[in-house]
């Protein structure tokens, strides 16, 4: 295994980490309209991810930065090629971050309502668009001999990619729903469990369709295993949810996210961005990667930093392990200090 293969795995790990973590907090954002019935309930939802959403988002920045360092060609082609969808994602993430921080900083009804609407849409749109983007990466796009994307925005909205978008949207919503059931008390917890049943069933159908499609297109033995794990974990997550085992349901929906993203990366390898115009123009782990020297330095850095990050982020989840309900939200109408 060469260093650029190691880095392919590490980039996959960063995206998996991002989708696992921000996946549920996108889901929670979507639930503010789908599940919450009033402002105190919306605040309960927002506060289940309050202390952690920012740390979760850094997984994306790190995936971006690490791709730049380890696969500059991939970074350049991907972000200049998927320009407008990425712009939409960035705008959403900007507004979403501000919305979390500023929502409670003024007591006016309209102020709070507007930021809540913003949280819903800015969670929903990226949750969908990430799926579109990854489906396109896996399927391949129009890349010319200079590694430039030469397709249009319309090319990115093909049926496979749109299905991919629906998969991430529903999967993250399910992931967020079982997370909510795990992190809340009271009525909202019960309703989250009931909702998880329906969202989970829909997700299972879409995930199965999408992954099988990807498998038929370009899968192999390894990706088939990941596919089976993803679908099986989702089914067991549904059973666990039904049985009221919220911890298990969340862990297993997490396994689904991990296995599904892993499967996409398995079908991708050794390409990082295949070209549909000419197989010779595809970006691969070898022609898109940095020099061995840079990869070596990066490996040391990631090897030391990543376990530490997991450790202190894990600790954060432990510090905020208590469930919350509407009774824990102070002065539900006013400004919090």
């Amino acid at each position: 295994m060469q260093l650029h293969d190691v880095w392919f795995v590490l980039i996959a790990v960063l995206w998996i980490g991002y989708f696992f973590l921000e996946g549920f907090d996108f889901g929670v954002g979507i639930l503010t309209k789908l599940l919450a019935r009033n402002r105190p309930e919306r605040r309960v939802l927002i506060n289940t991810i309050g202390p952690v959403w920012d740390g979760n988002e850094v997984w994306l920045l790190t995936a971006g930065g690490a791709t730049f360092a380890a696969f500059p060609e991939w970074y350049a082609t991907l972000f200049s090629g998927f320009y407008l969808p990425l712009l939409v994602i960035l705008v959403c993430l900007i507004v979403r971050g501000v919305a979390f921080e500023y929502r409670a900083k003024r007591p006016e009804e309209s102020w709070q309502r507007n930021w809540e609407t913003a949280i819903f849409w800015t969670s929903l749109i990226p949750a969908f668009l990430w799926g579109v983007a990854f489906a396109n990466i896996v399927r391949g796009v129009k890349i010319d001999r200079n590694f430039e994307y030469v397709g249009g925005v319309g090319d990115l909205l093909n049926p496979f990619a749109l299905l991919g978008g629906l998969v991430t949207l529903t999967l993250f919503t399910f992931h967020g729903t079982v997370f909510t059931a795990l992190k809340t008390v009271g009525d909202i917890r019960e309703r989250a469990r009931r909702l998880a049943r329906w969202v989970g069933l829909l997700t299972a159908v879409l995930v199965l369709l999408f992954l099988v499609w990807a498998q038929i297109d370009q899968g192999d033995g390894k990706s088939l295993i990941a596919l089976i794990v993803a679908v099986a974990a989702l089914v067991v997550a549904l059973v666990a949810n039904q049985a009221g085992r919220e911890g298990w349901a969340f862990a297993l929906s997490g396994v689904t996210v991990v296995a599904a993203v892993a499967m996409l990366f398995l079908t991708l390898f050794p390409n990082v961005m295949p070209s549909t115009l000419d197989a010779d123009w595809s970006l691969t782990v070898s022609n898109a990667s940095s020099s061995p020297y840079t990869l070596k330095i990066m490996t040391w850095c990631a090897g030391i930093a990543t376990p530490l990050v997991l450790l202190y982020q894990g600790w954060t989840y432990w510090v905020f392990r208590k469930r919350i309900g509407t009774q824990h939200i102070a002065d539900a109408a006013g400004v919090t200090h």
Binding site: I46, G50, V58, V98, R103, N146, S290, Y293, I297, H337
Partner: protein
């Protein structure tokens, strides 16, 4: 294509707008994290309530500010790929590494511990909670270091080779990138300026309340902390600026000649206070200057030779081939002056304030104010300022909070514009760095979207800051004064509301 709307021009404008905007928040974040941590440390050690109230007050403003810093930072991580894909391909092997280090080491640190700090008041024992804000502070400083190492490489590329076969620059010595004198002096200068910014912010807001005789004990301590910060950081900014200037005179003579609008080399070279030149003719038509000072800034003596714009342009033409290697002279000339002028104005106001509000030194006993009194402004021994001058000092001190922000912005505009036409000095031209596949319409769209969004957010942010500045430090609750002793919070009452919630 019309140059004004060429993708290169638009991409440069977009980078300028998004980066200068981002950098309004960065220095405040760096300094307010440390200053808030300092105040919280004072609370933990002395248990004086005014320090906790100050921590909560400045901490709140810090959070409103860092939220903007974080979200505008997301764009920075991706826009190299979006608008500058040729740049990314050419230098990613080198430039990507410090960015990845920044994310892996600094961003995770910052964002994880900020969450713990915001929500941790009733979940963490006092000292662990305090440690969290210090972690945030360390994160912000590490972040500055890595990104400045990356920028310094663009100013003065070292530790690399050109791989002809792959058509790109490759890293050969990462240590050199991290420790070259450009990096070290830029980090020194940027961090001092950041603390000048935060100090002036504190001075300005504390003066606002003291002018109105409100929240005196908290604001008096804040004023003191702010003034001391401004004076120390202001001095260090000047010292580091001088060091960085000397480095730049060697590494980018064009930038410094342009900073002075020094068209032809002179020995001794004068420092120009005001100049109005004609770029096409290559000389100044009006000029006011102090002899010898530029020689000193460049080489530490008052008589040495400093090459001018025309000399450097010729030298670069010989080295890199035909072309115009001059940046836009008025921008560099005035950018340099506004940077120094606004930065040093803030320092001077701080220095005056520190003297005027001194506690004991050369101050008779009856002028030493009590804990609840607005400090007397005493110019000479036994001679306080009159009421009118006192009011004016407070007013000017309020204004000073904006000065370093202006200075910082111009500092970056100067250093980045002064490097043109290069994006990586001597290695890659800016016009060769843009994304060839991105259309004019796409860049125009993203530039418009970001500019509008940032403008709206600026209004929201400033209004929110004003609201919380005016509200003053919050009253303390019982639970503020009795933080938990166990991690995760004391479990006496399972239904107790959270100390902080979104």
């Amino acid at each position: 294509m019309d140059m004004a709307l060429a993708p290169e021009t638009l991409a440069r404008w977009q980078f300028g707008i998004t980066t200068v905007y981002h950098f309004l928040f960065v220095p405040l974040t760096i300094s307010l994290a440390a200053l808030t941590a300092g105040l919280q440390t004072a609370w933990v050690r002395s248990e004086k309530e005014k320090y906790l109230r100050a921590t909560k007050f400045w901490g709140k403003l810090f959070l409103i500010n860092i939220a903007m810093g974080v979200v505008t930072g997301i764009v920075q991580e991706f826009q190299f790929g979006m608008n500058w894909s040729a740049y990314s391909r050419f230098v990613g092997d080198i430039f990507g590494a410090p960015l990845a280090f920044e994310a892996l080491i600094a961003f995770f640190f910052e964002s994880t511990f900020i969450g713990l700090w915001i929500f941790g008041w009733d979940k963490l024992p006092k000292k662990i909670h305090l440690a969290c804000i210090w972690m945030v502070s360390i994160g912000t400083i590490l972040s500055a270091y890595f990104i400045l190492a990356a920028n310094s490489w663009m100013q003065h590329p070292v530790g690399y080779r050109i791989n002809k076969e792959k058509g790109r620059a490759e890293l050969t010595d990462f240590w050199q990138v991290l420790t070259q004198n450009t990096t070290l002096t830029q980090v020194f200068h940027t961090l001092s300026a950041a603390f000048l910014t935060g100090g002036a912010f504190m001075v300005g807001i504390a003066s606002y309340h003291l002018l109105r005789k409100k929240h005196i004990p908290v604001m008096k301590s804040s004023l003191r902390l702010g003034l001391v910060t401004v004076v120390i950081a202001g001095l260090l900014t000047a010292v580091s600026g001088d060091l960085l200037g000397k480095v730049m005179f060697k590494q980018q003579p064009m930038k410094m000649a342009a900073a002075e609008a020094l068209w032809d080399g002179e020995s001794p070279a004068p420092f120009s206070i005001f100049a109005y030149g004609d770029v096409s003719k290559g000389h100044n038509s009006v000029e006011l200057s102090v002899p010898g000072v530029l020689s000193f800034l460049a080489n530490d003596d008052f008589s040495s030779y400093v090459p001018g714009i025309n000399d450097t342009n010729r030298a670069e033409q010989q080295k890199y081939g035909p072309g115009d290697y001059r940046p836009i002279i008025p921008v560099t000339f005035w950018g340099f002056r506004w940077m120094i002028g606004f930065g040093m104005a803030s320092f001077t106001i701080g220095l005056a304030g520190l003297w005027l509000t001194r506690k004991k030194f050369l101050l008779p006993a009856h002028l030493r104010g009590g804990e609840d009194e607005v400090p007397h402004l005493v110019l000479l021994r036994k001679k306080p300022l009159g009421p009118r001058l006192t009011t004016w000092y407070w007013r000017i001190a309020v204004l000073t909070l904006g000065f370093p922000l202006i200075a910082n912005s111009w500092g970056w505009i100067f250093t980045e514009m002064g490097r043109q036409p290069w994006v990586v000095y001597g290695v890659l031209r800016t016009r060769d760095a843009v994304s060839p596949g991105v259309s004019q319409g796409e860049v125009l769209t993203s530039m418009t979207v970001f500019t509008l969004l940032y403008a709206i957010l600026a209004v929201i942010e400033v209004k929110l800051l004003v609201k919380y500045v005016k509200a003053g430090p919050p009253e303390l609750s019982e639970s503020d004064l009795h933080p938990p002793t166990r991690i995760g919070g004391d479990s006496t009452d399972a239904d107790k509301p959270m100390a902080f919630s979104y």
